[in-house]
Point group: D2
Chain length 281, copies 4
C-alpha cells in the first residue's frame, strides 16, 4: 500500500491588529483579523518530521505587524497584497499564499452633530472581507461582505411552490423577508480603488434588497447579484449565500385574536439557505 499526501497547507489564523493612523486633528482606525496559509514543498515535514522548510506560523504573525508598520494604512486588499508579495519573495519553498482577512467596522461618535476626530463606537457585526490567492503566476482577489443583516416588512411573497405529502407551509403574499448578506466578488484585476468599489457594491446590494418585489429569496438573490454585475464592470463574478432568517407570524387565534402582521416570532433555527454564483460573460 502506498499513501500519498494529496494536499497540504499550514499557517496562522486569527491574527488580530488595530491600525491607528494619526493625522493632525483626525485619527483613523482599522481593526483587522487575518488568516494566512502557505502551500508549498512541505512533504518532508509531514513524512519525516523535517522542519527545515517550515517558516513558523509565529513568524507569519510577526510579519503582519512589521509590514503594518512599514506600509501606510490602506485598503484591506492592498495590505494583503503586500503580505503575499513579501512571503512569495522571501520564501522560495512556497508556491502559494492564501489570505483571508476581515475588517470590523467602527463609526465615529457624533458630538454636537459632528463626527469626533478620535472617539469611535463599534459598528454592527457586519465585516468587510477579502480573500486573496497568491501564486507565482499571479494573484486573484475577492472582496466581500459578511454578516450584514437586513429585513424588510413589505414586497416579499412566497407562492406557487411545489407541494408534496410532507408540505404544510402556507402560501404567503406578504411576509417578512430577512437575511444575513454573505457576498463576495472576483475582481478582474488588482488595480482598482477597492474601498470605493466596496462601498458602492454594498450600497447596490442594500438598495436592491430593499426595493425588489420579491417572489422568493432566490429571486431577490439573483436581482442583487445582477445589479452588482450590471453596475460594476470591475466585478467579473459574484457569489451570494443568503440564510432565510424566518420571522413567523404568531398564531393568536387560540386567544380569540387576529394578527394583522404585527406580532412575529424571530427564529435562529432551522433556517433556509439560498446560494448562487453569477458571472458576466
Amino acid at each position: 500500500m502506498t499513501i500519498t499526501l494529496t494536499q497540504n497547507d499550514y499557517g496562522k489564523s486569527r491574527v488580530r491588529l488595530l491600525r491607528v493612523s494619526r493625522q493632525e486633528g483626525r485619527h483613523d482606525i482599522h481593526e483587522l483579523t487575518l488568516q494566512i496559509l502557505f502551500e508549498g514543498d512541505f512533504e518532508t515535514a509531514h513524512t519525516k518530521g523535517d522542519n527545515s522548510k517550515i517558516l513558523p506560523t509565529d513568524t507569519m504573525k510577526n510579519t503582519v505587524y512589521a509590514l503594518a508598520r512599514q506600509y501606510p494604512s490602506e485598503a484591506l486588499e492592498n495590505f494583503c497584497s503586500h503580505l503575499i508579495e513579501h512571503f512569495l519573495t522571501y520564501n522560495p519553498q512556497i508556491s502559494r499564499v492564501r489570505i483571508e482577512a476581515q475588517e470590523s467596522l467602527w463609526n465615529r461618535i457624533v458630538l454636537g452633530g459632528k463626527p469626533h476626530p478620535s472617539a469611535f463606537q463599534h459598528g454592527s457585526q457586519e465585516k468587510r472581507t477579502a480573500a486573496l490567492n497568491g501564486a507565482r503566476e499571479g494573484t486573484t482577489i475577492r472582496s466581500g461582505i459578511a454578516d450584514l443583516i437586513v429585513l424588510k416588512t413589505t414586497k416579499s411573497a412566497f407562492e406557487g411552490f411545489l407541494k408534496d405529502p410532507y408540505t404544510t407551509l402556507k402560501e404567503d403574499r406578504d411576509r417578512i423577508l430577512s437575511t444575513s448578506i454573505h457576498a463576495d466578488w472576483l475582481y478582474e484585476s488588482g488595480d482598482v480603488e477597492f474601498s470605493t468599489l466596496w462601498h458602492g457594491i454594498r450600497q447596490t446590494l442594500l438598495e436592491t434588497f430593499a426595493e425588489h418585489d420579491s417572489q422568493s429569496l432566490q429571486h431577490t438573490l439573483y436581482a442583487m447579484g445582477e445589479a452588482v454585475l450590471q453596475n460594476f464592470q470591475h466585478a467579473r463574478e459574484i457569489r451570494l449565500s443568503l440564510p432565510n432568517k424566518h420571522f413567523n407570524r404568531v398564531d393568536l387565534s387560540p386567544f380569540g385574536m387576529d394578527n394583522p402582521a404585527e406580532v412575529f416570532l424571530p427564529t435562529d433555527e432551522p433556517h433556509g439557505l439560498i446560494e448562487a454564483a453569477l458571472r458576466r460573460d
Copy 2:
C-alpha cells in the same frame, strides 16, 4: 435536621418577539427578548410536587404575544409594565414579577439619502435594556444599555499607580482606551418619557467617554455616571460595569522598528473590569 426553602422563583427566558407597526408610508420594527420570573407561594410545588399554583412558563410566553397584540407598540419599559400589571392582577398566588428585557437595534436602510420606510439593517450588538421589579406595593424600573463598544485613541493615561514585586506594567501617558458600556439607571418614577430619556442618557455617556481627559477607567466611569446624574433628574442612581478592553502596543523592536502608537494587538482576555454605582442624595 430541618431544610428550609429560603428563596425560589421560576419563569421563562429568551422569549423573542418582533413587533411591526404599520402606518401609511412608514413601518416601525422593534425586536425584543424578555425574561419573566415569578416569586410567590410555590413551596408545595417544590416539596410535594403540587402544581396547582404553577402557571406554566409556556403561558407566560403566550401572554407576551397576546399583550403585544393588545397594546400598541410603545417603549420597552411601558410594555413590561403592562405585563407586570397583567400577571399581578390575574395571579393572586404571586407576590412579585421580575422582567428583564432587551431590544436589539435596527436602522433604516438609506436609499438616495433617504431612510427607507420598510427596509432595515441590523445595528450593532448594543442593546437597550430594561429591568422591572414589580410587587404589589409598587414597581421599580431600571433602564440601561449593554454591549455598547467604544474606543478612543487620545486623552487616556494610566500613571502613578501602586507597584508591588509582581508589577511589570509600564506607566502610559497616551494609551488606547476601549470598553463595552454596560450601564443601568433607576428611575424615580414610572411616569417619564422612557425613550427620550434613554437616547439622552446614551448620548451623554458617549460624549463623556469621548471628551474626558482620562487618568484611568475608574476616572472616566465616574465622570460618565456623574454627567448622567447631573443632567437627568429622573435618574436617581446609575450603575456602570466597564471591561477594560486592552489594545496593547506591539513591540516591534526585535525587528529594529519603533511603533509610534500605530500598530496594536486587540485582546479579549484577560481584561480589566471596573464597576461602580453612583447615587444622587
Copy 3:
C-alpha cells in the same frame, strides 16, 4: 446636589492558566479561569484620577502565575484562598477580595484499556466552580458546578398546573426532562477536602436527577438540593438554577403518523428557568 459613590470594585477577568504537575510516570493538568475583584479605598481614583492606591489589574494577573509556581497544584478552592491571603496581606488599601474561578475538565485518553499518563481529551462544557469572598474578618467559600447538561427519557410529568385564558400547554404524564445544572453550595468552613466533596455532591445531584419521580422541574430541583444537604454536612446552603431545556414531541399527524415519544425537537429558546435556595437550619 451631592453625588455619592455607593459601591465600587475593580479587577481582572478571564485570567487563564494551565497547571501541569509532573510526577514520575504520571502528569496531571488543571485548566483554570479566574476573575479577581478588589473592594477598598478607591474613591479618589474615581473622583480625582488619583491612582496611588490602584494596584494594576495586570499585577493581579501576574500574581496568579507567580503563586501558581509557588504552591503545588491543589484544589481550586485552596488556590483561590492563597490568592486572597496574598492580596489582603500586601494591600492595606483593600477591604475585600472576591474571586470567581472555574476549572475546565480534562480526561485521560484511554489506550488499550489504560488511562494514558500524559495525553488528555477535553471533557464536556461542564465546569467546576468556586466563588470566594475574602474580607479581613474571614472568607466564605462556595463551590459549584456549571453547565452540566443532563436529560432523562422517563419519570417526568407535568400535570395539574394552573390554567388561565392564555394557557395552551397540554398536561403531560411522560415527557423528556432536560436541564443544565448550575449549582453552588456554601461550606461551613474552609477546612474540608474540597475535591472529594465536590465529586460526592456532583454524583448526588446526578443520581437524584436520574432517579427522581418528577412532577415538575421545581419538584426535582428540591429533591436534588435536599439530597445534598442531607448527605453532606459540610454544605450549609445550596442554590440551584435550572433551565428547562424543552424537547417538544414533533406533531406528525399532518402526515398521518403517530409519534410514540420517539421524535423530538430540541430547542434553545424560549426556555423555562427554575431557581431556588435550600438551607439547613
Copy 4:
C-alpha cells in the same frame, strides 16, 4: 452583457432532532443537526420568480421528522442515505442532494457503577459528522469527527525550523501539544458498519496523537492519517484540519522564578492551522 447563473443550490440548515428508541429496560438517544441542500433545475426561480420547481425548505425539515418516524434509529450515515433516496425519488427537478449532519454525544449517567437505562449527561463538544453527496449516479459518503480537543504534555518538539528576520520563536524540545481534531474520511462504499468504523477510527486517531513522538503538528497529523489508512481498508482518503492551540510557558523571570514547564497560558488566538489530505493509492 450576458449574466449567467453558474451555480446555485438551496435548502435547510440547523434542522434539529432528538431520536429516542425505547427498548424494554433501556432507552437510547441520538441528537442530530442536519443541513440539506438541493441542486437542480431552479434557474427560473432566480431569473423569473417562478417557484413551481421549488419544494419549500420547510418541507425538507418535515421530511426529516417523517422519515425519522418511519425508519428505526440507525447510524447517522444510514439515516442521511434514506433522506437522499427519498428526495431523489420524489423530486425529478433535482439532480443532487447534499447533506451535512452532526451528532452530539450523550453518555449514560453512572449510578452505583452501572450505566443508567434512561438518564444521560451531555458529552464534550466533540461531534460525529457525516457529509453525503447524492446524485442520480451514486452517493459519496464522508464520515468524520469535529471539535475533539486533545492535549499532551510530553513527546512534542518543534526545532530546526526555517528562520527569517521576523522570526523570534525559540526552538522547543518539550512543549505542550494541543489541537482540536477535525477529520473526515471517504468510504469506498456505503455498505459498511458505519458506527463500528467510526469508533475504531476515532480510537486510532486518539492513540496516534497520544503516542507519536512529534517533531511538529504536521508530523503528527501525517502519522494520524497514515494510521487510519493503514488500519481501515474501507477508508480511501482522509482529510485532517488541526489548529495548533498554543499553550505558552509563562515567563516568571521578572519575579525571580524559573518555570519548569508547570505554568502555561492557554490562548485561543492567534492559532496555527495545519491541514492535509492523505490517500491510499
